[in-house]
Symmetry: C2
Amino acid sequence: MSLLVVGSVAFDALESPYGKVDRAVGGAATYFAVAASFFTPVSLVAIVGDDFTSRDEEIFRGRHIDTDGLEHAAGKTFFWAGRYSENLNERVTLATDLNVFAEFKPRLPEKYRKLKYVFLANIAPELQRDVLHQVKVRPKLAALDTMNYWIERSNAELRETLKHVDILMINDSETRELSNEHNLLRAAKHIFKMGPTTLVVKRGEYGAMMVDKRGVFCVPAFPLEEPHDPTGAGDSFAGGFMGYLAGCGEKSDAALRRAMVYGSVLGSFAVEKFGVERLRHLKRSEIPARARHFAKLTQFKL
Amino acid sequence: MSLLVVGSVAFDALESPYGKVDRAVGGAATYFAVAASFFTPVSLVAIVGDDFTSRDEEIFRGRHIDTDGLEHAAGKTFFWAGRYSENLNERVTLATDLNVFAEFKPRLPEKYRKLKYVFLANIAPELQRDVLHQVKVRPKLAALDTMNYWIERSNAELRETLKHVDILMINDSETRELSNEHNLLRAAKHIFKMGPTTLVVKRGEYGAMMVDKRGVFCVPAFPLEEPHDPTGAGDSFAGGFMGYLAGCGEKSDAALRRAMVYGSVLGSFAVEKFGVERLRHLKRSEIPARARHFAKLTQFKL
């Protein structure tokens, strides 16, 4: 089933001990769409400037990614520059030039308005809500990512938007800030009162945790000896997670657990190379192989 | 098979948002011995002062814990006082009075010298090595815990001791400091060159990770809504881990994975109440029940 994603497409400048790129296609919606497209067709809604060429758009081509919702506006594409510390565990933002993204008003092509799976990447909560209004029937599954910036500055808007989503996918510190609760189980209970029925907490090198009324499921991060670039890991995780669910059309506990694994698989590939390069060259057959590695990593018999 | 543990028995003063105790029996060897005794007989080597009464010793009684190696010396028992932050994620040490522990020279009763399973809790590396010398035949499995203090101040002694142990059980920051390597997989490779063939990294709220030449195994921490006191969690983990292995007499990959789970089970019980209280009242039947919870927490079918 086709999966709608609304979020940023950007140019990233990245520096890590493993290298440097001055202008690579990035942005949450890019990582998400590429990761998800291994499982299901994706419909992309985002905005780019007139500096975003047909060549830049190649990342979406030859995949099941519909870019009719990719708006081309006069001006420059969202630009982000960041530098990672030697251990990749700290990141300094060197530049955030919103450019055309500052005026982004997501507009869903008519054919997108009946989509049943929706992912709202990290954008202003009022824009996320507006996207949900444009979708005609309540989706089978709507998931949302956000960040501390919106939790702090648009809290009421975010709360209003959360009433209409099923899955909240955020990191540890966002979970704690949104719920005002350090303990993640208690945090989940607060968040369930806000609307979502499932909380997925992305924990970087520690993996991810899913909490719903059926319980808790944990998956570790894939141990890599030489991760090159953490950029987009969370968005690739979200893409693998939602892509798997949209592809299989189920939302049973077993399906959600598999989605957590496929999310982790895609996140682990994303960090292996700079920017979106590893996902760009990823072969479909590498996915089940790595998923089996995750089984080996976690499974035991009592 | 009986399991030898050498380490500290102490009085702890603890403060957390959940309460306060002025003098509770604690110490690494105490948590370890109690946790391990659910799986196998334990032989304890430690030192206490003349303030350590028969009543204090009750924690070891009625369990399979041989205290013939518990030396009673003139003077006061090792005393440690600590306070936890509101979220239990930070700890301030208020007092560390070594007392009789400063003169601890572990002496193994004759009957302990043929034991096949040995755990060297966190004490000076030269004392750990001396214990290994007193054991007549190379143990089937020797494991060691240490801390930043020894890594920094007795590095050569620690390196010498590590040549003679199979399993190193330390936390993230100790792993990084000992190996001078941030990435845990690369850190494990450095550590394997020092002697141990298995590295167990204790990661607090994120669980634990085991690395050996066969690969990596991860187990999450048990999600608890209201942990009361993290004191002794790592030592209880070690007790469950080594106790299980000594009890089953195996060291296959499957056995080590189960040991990781039973370690996590005991660690999770330890933090539920203040000090050693939860372990003191733990029923044997609660252990397999929680181990099954760990299975539910981690298992998936692709």
